[in-house]
């Protein structure tokens, strides 16, 4: 089990996770560390130890915003952002309830918009996101202001090559 998780994450992320020697530089520079249940250095150790259950149920994997500050400063050149991508994908594949469903709602609404139009149509994507997250009131004022400033177009602009986009989604199993 331990080997399986490490091998899978290494294969999917392409990162030399076994080189992590816990210097903690990643966690010191992480802008989101206060929101993590396990700081990035601990996530790396948990991957090494194969603590799959704890990791896939963790908030940390969804709170990472992929700013790449950690990877940029790692003395062993390990990028943690793709490691988080691999853990997030495994959480969804295994049908585990994500610790932060709102983030998943946003990203799901976003890729559904790409699947429909080939490009993101903000107005319908945001409505879908609000529906999925069951939160209709937050930032309504911001949305209205953006609309009034002409920054949320009503009409979608479709990509010219929807057949290819469908194929890309199929290939990725999404």
């Amino acid at each position: 089990m331990a080997e399986n998780l490490l091998q899978k994450v290494v294969a999917e992320s392409g990162q030399p996770i076994d080189l992590c020697y816990q210097c903690r530089k990643c966690s010191v520079g992480c802008p989101m560390v206060e929101e993590f249940d396990f700081p990035p250095n601990m996530v790396m150790r948990m991957v090494q130890l194969g603590m799959k259950d704890e990791l896939l149920k963790s908030k940390a994997i969804w709170m990472c915003i992929s700013c790449e500050t950690c990877g940029s400063r790692c003395p062993n050149e390990i990028r943690i952002a793709p490691v988080m991508d691999s853990l997030r994908a495994q959480c969804l594949e295994e049908g585990i309830a994500p610790a932060d469903p709102v983030t998943v709602a946003l990203h799901s609404a976003f890729i559904e918009s790409i699947k429909t139009f080939g490009r993101v149509h903000e107005a319908t994507m945001l409505m879908n996101y609000k529906w999925k997250s069951k939160n209709f009131t937050s930032d309504l004022d911001v949305g209205i202001k953006l609309f009034l400033k002409g920054k949320i177009p009503l009409m979608p602009k479709k990509s010219e090559n929807m057949a290819k986009i469908k194929e890309i989604f199929q290939e990725a199993g999404k």
Partner: protein, 275 residues
């Protein structure tokens, strides 16, 4: 200059970053550079594709990179997020032969090592453009104190972006100085604004943005300058202390070109008082 590049607009070009795109196009045209939009482009996947599926993210970005290779010209990508994704796909195909062959076959193109992914900073901060940019300045930005805010996507990882310095990049600073602005050194050049968190957690985003703006205000900046649409949106929406402008808007102001009064109205913090 007579140069021609392929151009990837990205989804925000018609929405949240409309003033960025208009300003950038005006500046690029003034410099005699031609952009040809990729006809079939699709969304790069933004942060959402890689958050849910790395293979979807790579597929969407590789498709767009492939379209650029069909045209055979370097691809200019104004949106920092799109640039980060396409540069990542370019990097994978450049150095992983098996992945390159698989994606070439799937997307129907031949990878040409000469074709490069360029952010708008890559395009406009080139040393050879500096004399032309200085020549176009009609009204130097004298007395305007700016802090340059680079964010994440055009900076990290350095191996992919080729940034000059991932902790203290200087290319936008140099451009602003060439326009006559007073460029202030400060501490938050490469800090994260929260990115997509702006849509899921307003409170945390405000905390991250406030830290950045605190430092900019302490440095006595009149405005914050960026090249990223998401940085602009987050920092502009979540505070009321400091105007935030795209670097090409300030170029257009110095060149005295484009529909600037209309662009200023697109911002939450109106910058028109600065000029």
């Amino acid at each position: 200059m007579g140069e021609t590049f392929s151009y990837y607009p990205g989804c925000t070009s018609h929405s949240t970053a409309i003033e960025y795109i208009e300003a950038s196009k005006a500046v690029i045209e003034a410099l005699g550079i031609e952009l040809k939009e990729l006809p079939d482009w699709c969304c790069c996947g933004a942060a959402s594709a890689h958050n849910l599926s790395s293979s979807l993210a790579l597929g969407l970005s590789a498709f767009n990179v492939g379209e650029a290779h069909k045209e055979g010209k370097d691809l200019v990508i104004p949106c920092a997020g799109c640039y980060g994704n396409l540069a990542q796909a370019d990097y994978v195909m450049r150095y992983d032969e098996a992945e390159r062959q698989r994606l070439e076959k799937q997307m129907g193109f031949k990878f040409d090592t000469e074709v490069k992914m360029l952010s708008l900073v890559d395009l406009l901060a080139r040393e050879e453009l500096r004399p032309a940019i200085k020549n176009l300045v009609k009204k130097p930005l004298k007395g305007l104190k700016v802090v340059c805010y680079y964010g994440c996507a055009i900076v990290r990882p350095a191996a992919i972006t080729g940034v000059d310095n991932s902790e203290n990049p200087l290319r936008i600073d140099t451009m602003m100085a060439d326009l006559g602005a007073e460029v202030i050194d400060w501490s938050c050049k490469v800090d994260c604004c929260g990115g997509d968190l702006g849509l899921t957690d307003a409170e945390k985003t405000t905390e991250l943005v406030n830290k950045i703006v605190d430092y900019a205000v302490a440095a006595e900046a009149d405005c914050l300058v960026t090249s990223c649409a998401l940085c602009e949106a987050n920092v502009d929406i979540r505070q009321q202390r400091l105007p935030i402008l795209y670097f090409t808007e300030l170029m257009a102001e110095a060149f005295q070109i484009g529909d600037r009064q209309r662009w200023w109205k697109k911002h939450f913090n109106d910058p028109s008082g600065l000029f």
